[in-house]
């Protein structure tokens, strides 16, 4: 039950929203894309991906529709809503501030 590089609490939402800014994707494609763009460092477990997507849908940040996948199978595609875009901006800002602060602390010279 290994979960490689467990995501920092709450960042999964941010990553999923960000990935969906480019184009509507189905769940499997999302997990692939995430792995690709992070250079294989970030990987979301299949187990936590779908509950997270359903939660985002429930919040109204993404919406789902059924359409044909590349290989012509019916698949559920998620895309970002207007509210989702705003939420992404907010979370990205938070993340930038937080990560800047953390790296600031880490780079601190030892006395």
């Amino acid at each position: 039950m290994s979960r490689p590089s467990d995501l920092v609490q709450g960042t999964l939402d941010l990553l999923l929203l960000k990935i969906l800014t480019l184009e509507p994707l189905n769940g499997f494609a999302i997990s692939l894309r995430l792995k690709q763009v992070s250079g294989d460092i970030l990987q979301v477990s299949d187990g936590s991906l779908y509950p997270a997507l359903h939660k985002l849908e429930q919040e109204g940040w993404i919406k789902a529709e059924w359409r044909a996948s590349e290989n012509n199978r019916r698949a559920k595609f998620y895309s970002l809503t207007r509210m989702g875009r705003r939420q992404l901006e907010r979370e990205a800002d938070n993340w930038n501030r937080l990560s800047a602060a953390i790296s600031h602390v880490i780079k601190m010279e030892e006395a």
Partner: protein, 876 residues
């Protein structure tokens, strides 16, 4: 922002809830798609299809678990839990139809009775009057004269409009038989005060509302529909009222309504009755004050106080002791009946409480039989809050069912109330099951279910369980807390029922005493009705007197009939008073003279009515128009003004008679209960139609004692009346017995309702005590078996059980008596002839209850007596 979120989430939730299958299917399809893709992905990287599939499944780490997490993300599980609880409740309740029926019926009785009484309270006390902005409408306690109203209008600043209205019987002819209708005589501002715009035409304008103004009339909706079929062409036409013609100028909306006073047409008081309108001393106008916006009642009353002083200063004769006090119109209309309706409401609340106690007790009894099930569910890991919730769901489910059944009962109950309706309850005709009654019933049901479901639910899960698992092998004498709780419930039930029974007992005693009151006159075989002579044709007293003579002659010519006339029929609610002075007594300032009841009679009234002559003589044939002006007084008059003296020969006259008109007292008659059996008689003076100077007394009640039945007699009377004048309507036809019975309508209404409530309460309490005793006996079967095996006689067993029931009853009874002692004084205004702590009632009723309760214990006790020790000991 929030709204936008709902825009997405609400349709999703509805989908999750109501299209569960579709949502489940989609979830499945989504995850299957993922699995296939992932498998292909692994195959592409060189795995065998089987390994790839296995790997993909492992990645997702339990597909069912993920599905559950997705469902949780959709956050509908709470509602689904509820649905599950409800389904489970429905199933268990269906499995115990006896219990379900008993519980629903018990609650339906309690809730239904409450909903019915609440709908009356709602119609009479709570609903606002049907006028625009009715909270601005005020009235004065006392009636006013038109000149005083005009001065109030000039001297004050608080009111947008001040209306005055008096109601007078009018004859409406020209549409077949002459009929008596009611005319509202008012000022022009009356329409502004009430705030009604006519549906067609217009109302009377201030210019037309003047002495000598045009004869105009506005019709009420009912009158318009009844006699003109709602024809708009009536505008501008004339109708004949009491011999005069009036031009119809408008029709009022259907909502126009005068509390307790039927009105058919409206006309200007100044036009129709200029003399009465001008007289400052005639206080006959009901008043309707409309406050200006933002003016308080207190401020208006301060102004009214100043007007009082001003009027007393300028018109002392007509304005002594005038304390004008404004109050909201609605309070004035419902004022008298508020306390008695509240007593009924409290009583019906007690019924509900008893029903609820029974309900709780039933649930306890059932949870006792379900303890094994509950123990198992607990052992399997159901958290106790989940069990409590399940039981609460069940109880609320039952109480809502009870509420629905109660509404059906309430519908019947309202019809019953309407059948009983006492004329004295204003606005009761508007009683209906409306939105507020529905919400009241719903809230009541919900509350009942929660409060009275919580007690048994808590007691079984928290207190009952451990004990249950331990004690289950041997059922011992009533030790469980559930049983103790049930005993407590029965005790409180008996106490509550006793309060209601004592209240009903007090009412019954009062009613019996009222019935036994001697009214002071004969009531059998006397027919009465009202006849009024229209002013147009009978203005002169000679014409009136000629009519009286001819009418009486014709009536007395009916075989076996004896007839007389009276101006104010006993117990009809009518009365007239006059200020008077006694010859030779020191003069009093104008307006301070004593007041007496004045009744005008003709033709042997005392003989017909059987009112005894106590001193002097009755009126006789020698007393005619122009002869010595004579009067007869009653015993109350003598007691008050001639105590210990003989009044015969003394002279009295109406205050400020001009010219002087002294009347000689020639006789004294007995008192009658003029104002109903519960009211004392007031000093009264009787004079004769043939001698009175009061030409405005154009109405009369013929009282006819006859051998024939009332129906035949009435036909004969009508024939004779219309032979004299075929334009005279006959109204208010009653036998004297009916008049007396009607005077008790109010008490009968209260008594009937309290009686029903007490009966229901008694039945519920008996069921309660029967239930708890039966339960106790099943619990003690083995103990009884042992006792019998050890040599106890059947009698001992019987007494043991009865003794237990007796203890509960005595405890409940004592509490009930104590509570009644405190509570019944709130109903003392409904009682007659006894106090709220009438000893006979307080002794008799508890004994009766005790007897009934023992009977309820006896039936299960008989069963206990016949316990076979062998069977009982094997019973476990």
């Amino acid at each position: 922002m929030r709204l936008e979120r709902w825009f997405y989430s609400i349709p999703l939730r509805f989908r999750s809830l109501f299209r569960r299958n579709a949502v489940e299917h989609e979830l499945d399809e989504e995850l299957q798609f993922h699995l296939e893709q992932k498998t292909q992905h692994y195959v592409a990287s060189g795995m065998t299809p089987e390994d790839a599939r296995r790997r993909a499944l492992r990645d997702i780490d339990g597909i069912e678990l993920r599905k559950e997490e997705c469902r949780d993300a959709r956050r509908v599980s709470r509602i689904e839990d509820l649905a599950q609880d409800l389904r489970f409740s429905a199933r268990t309740l269906r499995k115990t139809p006896g219990f379900t029926a008993a519980a629903v019926l018990t609650l339906a009785l309690g809730i239904g009775a409450n909903a019915a009484i609440f709908s009356v309270v709602n119609a009479v006390l709570l609903r606002s009057l049907p006028y625009p902005n009715s909270e601005q409408l005020l009235t004065l306690h006392s009636n006013q004269s038109l000149p005083d109203l005009e001065d109030i209008q000039k001297q004050t600043n608080s009111f947008a409009a001040i209306g005055g209205l008096t109601i007078q019987a009018l004859d409406f002819t020209g549409q077949g038989d002459p009929v008596q209708i009611y005319g509202g005589l008012c000022n022009a501002e009356f329409f502004d005060a009430l705030g009604f715009r006519p549906v067609i035409g217009r109302t009377i304008s201030p210019v037309e509302d003047a002495y000598g103004g045009p004869s105009l009339v506005a019709l009420t909706q009912g009158f318009w529909k009844r006699y003109f079929g709602g024809d708009a062409a009536i505008l501008g036409k004339s109708i004949r009222l009491s011999g005069n013609s009036y031009t119809v100028i408008g029709v009022l909306p259907r909502e126009f309504w005068m509390p307790g006073r039927p009105v058919d047409v409206l006309a200007s008081l100044r036009v129709v009755s200029p003399l009465a309108a001008k007289s400052r001393g005639v206080h006959f106008l009901h008043t309707y004050f409309r406050l200006k916006p933002a003016i308080s009642l207190a401020r208006a009353n301060v102004e009214m106080g100043n007007v009082d002083q001003w009027l007393a200063l300028h018109y002392p004769e007509e304005n002594t002791d005038n304390h004008r006090h404004l109050l909201p119109l609605r309070d004035a209309i419902v004022g008298d009946v508020r306390p008695e309706l509240l007593v009924l409401f409290a009583a019906v609340g007690l019924v509900l409480l008893i029903a609820c106690v029974n309900f709780a007790s039933l649930q306890l009894a059932r949870s006792a039989t379900r303890q094994r099930e509950i123990a198992i569910r607990t052992a399997l890991g159901a958290p106790s809050w989940r069990l409590i919730r399940q039981m609460l769901t069940e109880s609320v489910f039952l109480s809502l069912l009870g509420g629905v059944a109660g509404l059906v009962l309430a519908g019947l109950g309202v019809r019953l109330l309407m059948a009983l309706k006492p004329a004295g309850l204003p606005r009761i005709a508007d009683t209906s099951i409306d939105a507020s009654v529905l919400s009241f019933t719903f809230a009541l049901s919900l509350l009942t279910g929660i409060v009275f479901g919580l007690v048994p639910a808590l007691s079984t899960t928290f207190f009952g369980l451990n004990a249950k698992l331990k004690e289950d092998t041997r059922t011992t004498a009533g030790g469980s807390s559930g049983y103790r709780l049930r005993k407590f419930l029965v005790v409180s039930e008996i106490a509550l029922a006793l309060i209601l029974l004592i209240s009903a007992g007090l009412m019954i005693r009062s009613f019996a005493l009222l019935h036994r009151v001697d009214p002071g006159f004969r009531t059998e075989n006397i027919l009465t009705m009202r006849v009024e002579l229209p002013e147009a044709r009978y203005r002169e007293q000679t014409k009136q007197r000629q009519f009286h003579r001819e009418f009486l002659e014709a009536l007395n010519a009916i075989p076996g009939a004896q007839a007389a006339l009276v101006s104010e029929l006993p117990m009809s609610g009518d009365y007239i008073t006059h200020n008077f002075v006694i010859e030779g007594r020191p003069p009093l300032p104008a307006g301070r003279e004593p007041e007496v009841q004045t009744r005008t009679v003709e033709g042997g009234y005392f003989r017909v009515m059987g009112i005894p002559l106590l001193a002097g003589r009755d009126f006789g044939s020698q007393d005619r128009t122009g002869s010595l002006h004579v009067v007869v007084v009653n015993r109350a008059f003598v007691a008050q003004y001639f105590p210990g003296q003989n009044p015969v020969g003394a002279r009295v006259q109406w205050a400020r008679s001009d010219p002087p008109d002294w009347m000689t007292i020639v006789g004294v008659v007995g008192d009658i209960k003029h104002f109903g059996p519960s009211e004392p008689e007031e000093p009264a003076v009787y004079d004769l139609y043939s001698q009175t100077a009061q030409q405005w007394k154009r109405w009369m009640y013929p009282t006819i004692r006859g051998a024939a039945s009332a129906g035949i007699l009435l036909e004969q009377v009508k024939q004779h009346l219309w032979a004299i004048d075929n334009q005279l309507p006959v109204t208010q036809v009653f036998t004297m017995n009916e008049v007396v019975a009607a005077s008790l309508d109010h008490q009968r209404f209260n008594l009937t309702l309290l009686g029903i409530f007490a009966g229901v309460a008694l039945a519920l309490a008996v069921i309660g005590i029967y239930g708890v005793m039966s339960y106790a006996i099943t619990q003690r079967t083995s103990e009884i078996g042992i006792r019998v095996a050890l040599g106890a006689q059947q009698r001992d067993v019987l007494w043991m059980i009865l003794g237990q029931g007796l203890r509960l009853t005595l405890l409940g009874g004592t509490l009930g008596i104590a509570a009644s002692f405190v509570l019944t004084r709130y109903m003392s205004h409904l009682l007659f002839g006894i106090t709220a702590r009438d000893p006979r009632t307080f002794v008799f009723i508890p004994f009766a209850l005790l007897a009934v309760a023992l009977l309820a214990c006896y039936v299960p006790a008989r069963r206990a007596m016949s316990v076979d020790p062998m069977v009982a000991l094997r019973y476990e």
